[in-house]
Symmetry: C2
Subunit: 196 residues, 2 copies
DNA sequence: CGACCCCTACCGACCAGTCGGTACGTTGAG
DNA sequence: CTCAACGTACCGACTGGTCGGTAGGGGTCG
């Protein structure tokens, strides 16, 4: 059963994510949030403890979701090449579905206090470790080249910049495909058949 | 001859780039800028027209520099594979030398007014067009796979995220090498010997 | 030489406006 | 009657920016 409160709260979350993505956290005043949601301050603060807590909640959502889906991928018994491709398409789908929240997640880390930073950083590391794990697995299995894994930090950047800057003109599945078209043969040792 | 004024102005520029990179434009107050530079408001505004003009100047610097160096690379008569590698190492070197300014350039676009946006966007497109040009050249010459170029927007993200998040633990040349280790075979059709 | 002057670099008080946040009143459904 | 879900009025702190003023170095005169 969906209460009215939860509904209002959800509206606040999505509207804020949208504004924060477009103008940044500090660039978005309370007033803008309020008339985007259609509330006054009193109503707003009935649902939200503080602006910064709101930010943290927005940022936790996308990373928590993808921790679940990537976990399922890792649990598969396919080879590393397959898992790698799945990790990529999964990330692309996630960003396509929640681009605003992902943008905020990847841009506003520095705004958070020590608590929020710790929570976000831990999950971020967890997620990137999934990639590192698959990369390692593929390397020892002889599927992948022996790689210096420093670039893994950049994968999130590769995706988000492609999605943010190329979105208007191109459907999301094509963006993911374009990225994976480079990433797969860049990582895999033997020629990889491109699906489709 | 280097005047005192130019020196002070330069100090303002670098200090501001540093603070903007760490805390964001809106997250950095005038007060913080002032005691980072060691000036009072009067002195500050003697050199800078406005905070936003300051931001624009910070952002124009890295892109203008790399437009020059990438132009020189394009003018070379090497093959596309060589040019591609040079574009990558050039970008890596630029970011390593000016990480703060690059961070600001890639994060604070939305803060700018219509004028600033136009100036930055034009240069950004110019630079990415260099990559597209080389990619196209290599594709028609049979050096590269036939690629969907949507991912090109993500190259900047790939680099900046790698440099920002992996910097502390790794020297910049290694970061560039790690990235190019993936990018080159991801783009080039035939196996590419890795230098060094 | 010294007296004058001007201009650059800088100071610090001040401004209107905006910030995030709170206290409390009101409304309406169960 | 109750309590959640809001609106309204207000707060102090802080925002970017302005303005009148000043210290002092360098040039130009007699």
């Amino acid at each position: 059963m969906r209460t009215r409160s939860e509904d209002t709260r959800a509206r606040i979350l999505t509207a804020s994510a949208d504004l924060f993505a477009r103008q940044g956290y500090h660039g978005t005043g309370l007033a803008e949030l309020l008339d985007a949601v259609g509330l006054q301050k009193g109503g707003f603060y009935h649902h939200i403890a503080s602006k910064e807590e709101l930010l943290l909640e927005i940022m936790l959502d996308p990373i928590d979701r993808i921790l679940v889906s990537s976990d399922q991928i890792l649990a598969t018994d396919g080879d590393a090449t397959t898992k790698l491709r799945q990790l990529g398409t999964d990330l692309g789908n996630a960003m396509a579905a929640d681009l605003a929240a992902w943008t905020v997640f990847l841009r506003e880390y520095s705004v958070l206090g020590a608590d929020g930073k710790a929570q976000i950083l831990q999950r971020r590391q967890q997620y990137l470790d999934r990639w590192r794990q698959v990369l390692q697995e593929g390397a020892t299995a002889g599927e992948f080249r022996p790689l210096d894994l420093a670039f893994v930090e950049g994968i999130l950047g590769l995706f988000i910049y492609t999605f943010v800057w190329a979105r208007a003109s191109t459907p999301p599945e094509e963006l993911t495909r374009s990225i994976m078209q480079v990433l797969m043969p860049g990582i895999c040792l033997h020629p990889v058949p491109q699906p489709r």
